[in-house]
Amino acid sequence: MTSVSPAQSADAFSAARSPAATSVSRWRAWPHLWLAVVWLALLAVPFVAPNAYVVSLANMALINLILVASLNLLMGYAGQISLSHAGFFGLGAYASGVLNVKLGVTPWLGLPAAALISAAAAWVIGLPALRLRGHYLSMATLGWNAILVVLFNQLVNLTGGPNGLLGVQPFALGGFKLDTEARAFPLVWLVSLLVMLAILNLLRSRVGRALRAVATNELGADAVGIDSFRTKLVVFVLSAAMAGIAGSLYVHVNQYASPETFGVATSILLIVVVAIGGSGTFWGPLLGALMYTALPQILLDYEDAELMLFGLGMLIVLIVFPGGLARVPQALARVFTARRRS
């Protein structure tokens, strides 16, 4: 039993240091190291890829990663289910794309503009919608995604309507256009790294702890002075901004966008991908995004059965590993130790 030391007052804490606390911060450095290792390895993709098609898949996988990771931040860590993530993705794509096509704005400005416009929209939608809980939040965001798709289709003068937005310029460095898969890759690589780093840093901070606290126990979070609503709103806005960034990358790398990419179906699929990767894990979105991008390509040979096999694959993963792919090592370790004990 520990004795209560009378000298310590509640205010003396901030100056205090203990050896155990330094070990906490050392343990903290590891995910950053892993992030560096994985992204250095990814840098080899354009060199080892057999053809441009594989590089284009890598670009798409990293753009999907931004989408899945930002949704995971909102859903996995902050516990808020949004069905409008594809909508914010589309808003970013059309914002950046339309600015470029209609006004000749460079993608370098289009990308931050896409982030800001998606964030502003999320703020306006989040103010009423985040007061709703559980299924009602999902329904409100689903409605918002449906409205966005209608706008993408109907504002033909701006968006090109159902035919899609044509003539979008690629990113360019001076006169050097990033208009091939291999040329676009370093940019997508860098932006996805920065997004992952931002998420990691956020999670390892006071804000990250607050949003996880709100997700697990709002009463408890309230009791220590956390403004639950504001916390949810901040994460919602941030994740929408990241989806907007993904949209801008998407539209300038593909030089095209069309409304069906950003529908409610995509929003639903993204939620499933978060769950498959491992909701509330840092590496889950990478695994989920890889599977989400690669699986349809592998299944192309099966033509009509493709969608069915894709759904079946997702079902099997979620039934065998309900915690998602990122928790497979933990699950296996648990099985292994249990066997050894018996």
């Binding site: 155990a20 911060s25 840093n201 804000v207 309230d222 639950s228």
Partner: protein, 265 residues
Amino acid sequence: MNGRVSGGVNGNLLQVDGLTCRFAGVVAVADLSFGVRAGEIKAVIGPNGAGKSTLFNMIAGVTRANAGEIRFDGARIDHLPTFVRARRGIARTFQNLQIFRDMSVVENVMVGRHLRGSAGVAQAILHGPSLHKEERAIAAAAMDLLDRFGLADKAQMQAGALSFGQLKILELARALACAPRLLLLDEPAAGLPHADADRMSEIISGLNREGMTVLLVEHNMRMVMALSHDILVLNNGRRIAEGTADEVRRHPEVLAAYLGETEDA
């Protein structure tokens, strides 16, 4: 008693006046007035259904009063949401624990330290040296609290894996991490075996010796009588007695309320 704690109305840190709460016609708390002096341990006791929990929830901000005023450090707080009351300096524990189970033990306490940090989203994302320093200070403070309560070796464990008694102490540590001026304890001994309840008593009295003002609702009479400077006895939402342990113990209405409890129910 302690220079850090400033007094409010009549030197009371917490002042409750004419507080009333009705649920669908049933009066849970009726026109209740009392104060908690800075530096004292005050207990609220009473038979089941006396209105203790409702009173506690109104002070913490979970339940709204129908009438009356609650003042903390002289300022009205009855219209404020819970998190703002926490920011003013009121921390609490829960009768049925509200722990962040998926987070580690030390992270639970670090969340309690939330208000002592100032980093926003942008600073968190950029993770500059000032954030590093702040995070380090938060972690150090949390570890010191765990160390003090003998949970330091469990710091990296998932909180959900702790025993019930350890969770109660963890919740207290989390509340203390807020560096509150008033600590609200909702049945701190409930569900604890004798030895653990005694240890909880020791912890609470230790905190009080350092100047912490405590308001507790508790069924464990041994704890209440041993700890409290002042006891408020409620029955049917009204005050029937208020005073020291000895005064309350001999009060005829208190005796009647406790003996007559089975008839009321």
